[in-house]
C-alpha cells in the first residue's frame, strides 16, 4: 500500500519490521503503511504481536530489524522530532494516582508544549465528560472514568497519529460505545490517523476502514472489513478472526497466498 500513496499522504510507514526476544520471534518481517486520516485495526489473538508492534512504533521497543517512519521521521534514530505529533492510550499504562485529573492533564500538556493548556483541558473535560471529577485524584476513578481520562491525555496535543491499544478493554458496553462514538467523531473532525489494536471485533468493524490481521507475529491479511468478510465468506469479523486464529483459512486472495 505504501508504494501507492504519495508520501505526503502517509502518516506511518513500517518496512520489514521484526522483533525477536532471545530465541522467541514476536514479530516476523512486517510491512504496511497508514494513510493520513485513516483508522486501521491491528487484529490478532494473544501473542500475535500487536502490542509489540505498537510498542515499536511508539519507540518503546527497539526493532530487531526493519524501519518505522512517522511523518517521514525514523522512529529509532529521530523519534524526538515527531513524538510531539503522536500520542497513545493503553489500559496497561496508567497515570499517577495521587494527582488529580486536572494536575495530570496539566503536566502532560506542558510536556507536549500545549499552548493555552487550561483552555485545552477545559475543552477536553467538556467533550469527554470529565468536568465533575476534574479535581478528584486519578486513583479514585472508576475504570470507565479512567479510560476517558487516559483518552484526554492521549488527545491533549491534538495528535496527528493516535495509537490505541485495546481502548475499550474492561469497559461496560455503554461506556465502550460512548468511547467509540467519540473516536469516530474525533477522527472525522481532526483528520487524525488512528492505529487501533483490539480484540473486540464489533469495535474494529465499526471504527476501522482497514484491518491488518496478525498471527504468531506474521501478517496474515490486510484489507477493509468488507473485503475480509467477502474473502472469508463470513457475515462478521469475529468469524473471520476465528478462521484465522484456528487455521480454518480458505480465503481467496490472502496477502500471503
Amino acid at each position: 500500500m505504501s508504494s501507492l500513496l504519495p508520501r505526503s499522504n502517509v502518516a506511518l510507514i513500517v518496512e520489514d519490521l521484526s522483533k525477536t526476544y532471545n530465541t522467541t520471534i514476536a514479530v516476523r518481517p512486517l510491512s504496511f503503511s497508514l494513510a493520513v486520516g485513516s483508522t486501521t485495526g491491528l487484529l490478532g489473538g494473544n501473542g500475535a504481536g500487536k502490542t509489540t508492534t505498537i510498542g515499536m512504533i511508539m519507540g518503546l521497543i527497539e526493532p530487531t530489524s526493519g524501519s518505522i517512519r512517522v511523518f517521514g521521521h525514523d522512529m529509532v534514530h529521530d523519534r524526538h522530532r515527531v513524538l510531539g505529533r503522536m500520542n497513545f492510550e493503553s489500559p496497561y499504562v496508567d497515570m499517577p494516582h495521587r494527582l488529580t485529573v486536572r494536575q495530570n492533564l496539566r503536566v502532560f500538556a506542558q510536556l507536549y508544549g500545549v499552548t493555552d493548556s487550561e483552555g485545552k483541558i477545559a475543552r477536553l473535560a467538556q467533550e469527554l465528560a470529565l468536568v465533575e471529577f476534574l479535581d478528584r485524584p486519578s486513583g479514585s476513578l472508576s475504570a470507565g472514568q479512567k479510560t476517558r481520562v487516559a483518552l484526554a491525555k492521549a488527545l491533549i496535543n491534538d495528535p496527528e497519529l493516535l495509537l490505541l491499544d485495546e481502548p475499550t478493554a474492561s469497559l461496560d458496553p455503554d461506556t465502550a460505545d460512548w468511547v467509540r462514538a467519540y473516536l469516530e467523531t474525533h477522527r472525522r473532525d481532526r483528520n487524525c490517523t488512528i492505529l487501533l489494536a483490539s480484540h473486540n471485533m464489533a469495535e474494529v468493524e465499526r471504527l476501522c476502514d482497514r484491518v491488518i490481521m496478525l498471527k504468531q507475529g506474521s501478517l496474515v491479511d490486510d484489507a477493509s472489513p468488507a473485503e475480509l468478510l467477502a474473502r472469508y465468506g463470513r457475515s462478521n469479523l469475529e468469524d473471520v478472526f476465528l478462521d484465522v486464529a484456528r487455521g480454518r483459512v480458505n480465503a481467496k486472495n490472502r496477502v500471503d497466498s
Binding site: K19, Y21, A26, T51, T52, G55, M58, G59, L60, I61, E62, H80, L83, G84, M86, N87, F88, S90, Y92, V93, D94, M95, P96, H97, R98, L99, T100, Q103, R106, V107, F108, Q110, L111, Y112, G113, P137, K153
Partner: protein
C-alpha cells in the same frame, strides 16, 4: 546523551510540577522526610553529648566534642536523602505505571534526569534543612557556619548521590521493580567504606584503597580536618570532585546503556507493581 540545544526548560518544569503536586498531596510524606533525619541527628547528638560529658572521657573526646559525630550524621543524611530523593521520584513513575507515558512523550531522558536532580534538591531542602537548624538548637552545632567548606562538602556529596540515583534508575528501567530494594539499600555500603564516623586510618590497610575511590570518603576526612584542625584540605575536595565527575559520567553512560537495553528487551511496557 545530552544535546544541550534540545533541552527544554518547559518539559523539565513539567516533571518538577508533577513531583511537586505529589509532595503536596500527602503531608505524611513530607513529615517522613523530616522524621528520619531528625531521629538520626538526635540519636547521634545525644551519643556525642554522653561521650563528651560522661564518666571518663572517650579516647577521642576532643574530636567528638568538636562535633565530628553530629556533623558526620548531617552530611550522611545529605548523601542518603539526596540519592533517595532522586531514586524515589523515579520509583513513583514505576509504581504508577507512568514510565511508558513519559518515554513516548517529547520528554528526553536528559530532561527527565535533570528534573530528578532538581527534586532531590527540593526533598533535601524539605527534609534536611530543618534538621540542621534543630542541631543548632539542641547541640549548638552549626553546619552552616562551616561556610565554603560546607558548600564544597555538599557539592561532592550531591553529585555522588545523583550518580548512584542514576545507576539505580537505569537498573530499575532494565530489570523492573524486582530491583527496587537497591533504591533503599545501595547507599548504605558507604556507611562502612566512606569512613563517616572514623578516619580512613582506622580501617585495615587492604581496605583503604577502596575507601579512597569513593568521593564521600574525601568529604568525611575533610570534615574532620575542618572541625579538629580548622583546615579545609582543598586537595581532598578537588580529588573527590574529580572522582565524582568520572563516576557521574560512568553512571550517565550506564543509564543510557540500560535504557537502550530495556528498549531492546521490551521491558518499558511491562513496568509496574
Amino acid at each position: 546523551m545530552i544535546d544541550a540545544a534540545a533541552i527544554s526548560l518547559g518539559r523539565i518544569g513539567a516533571m518538577v510540577l508533577r513531583y511537586t503536586y505529589l509532595l503536596r498531596s500527602s503531608w505524611p510524606r513530607i513529615l517522613e522526610m523530616v522524621y528520619w533525619p531528625a531521629v538520626q541527628m538526635l540519636t547521634w547528638g545525644f551519643l556525642q553529648t554522653y561521650l563528651v560529658q560522661g564518666r571518663g572521657a572517650a579516647p577521642n573526646s576532643a574530636a567528638i566534642a568538636a562535633g565530628t559525630l553530629i556533623g558526620a550524621v548531617l552530611l550522611w543524611d545529605i548523601l542518603l536523602r539526596g540519592q533517595q530523593g532522586f531514586s524515589f521520584s523515579f520509583l513513583e513513575e514505576m509504581w504508577s505505571r507512568n514510565i511508558a507515558n513519559l518515554l513516548m512523550s517529547p520528554l528526553r531522558p536528559a530532561e527527565f534526569v535533570i528534573a530528578l536532580m532538581v527534586m532531590s534538591l527540593v526533598r533535601l531542602a524539605v527534609g534536611v534543612v530543618p534538621v540542621t537548624l534543630m542541631a543548632i538548637e539542641f547541640f549548638g552545632f552549626n553546619l552552616w557556619a562551616l561556610g565554603f567548606a560546607f558548600a564544597a562538602f555538599f557539592v561532592v556529596l550531591i553529585v555522588f548521590a545523583w550518580s548512584v540515583g542514576l545507576l539505580v534508575s537505569g537498573v530499575l528501567l532494565r530489570y523492573g521493580l524486582g530491583a527496587e530494594n537497591l533504591a533503599w539499600s545501595l547507599m548504605f555500603i558507604i556507611q562502612p567504606l566512606g569512613c563517616i564516623f572514623y578516619p580512613v586510618a582506622a580501617l585495615p590497610g587492604w581496605l583503604q584503597p577502596i575507601c579512597w575511590v569513593l568521593p564521600p570518603t574525601y568529604v568525611f576526612e575533610g570534615l574532620r580536618g575542618v572541625l579538629i584542625d580548622h583546615v579545609l584540605h582543598t586537595d581532598l575536595m578537588l580529588t573527590g570532585l574529580a572522582i565524582d565527575s568520572l563516576l557521574f559520567m560512568g553512571a550517565a553512560f550506564a543509564f543510557a546503556w540500560l535504557l537502550a537495553s530495556a528498549r531492546r528487551a521490551g521491558t518499558l511496557l511491562q513496568t509496574g507493581e
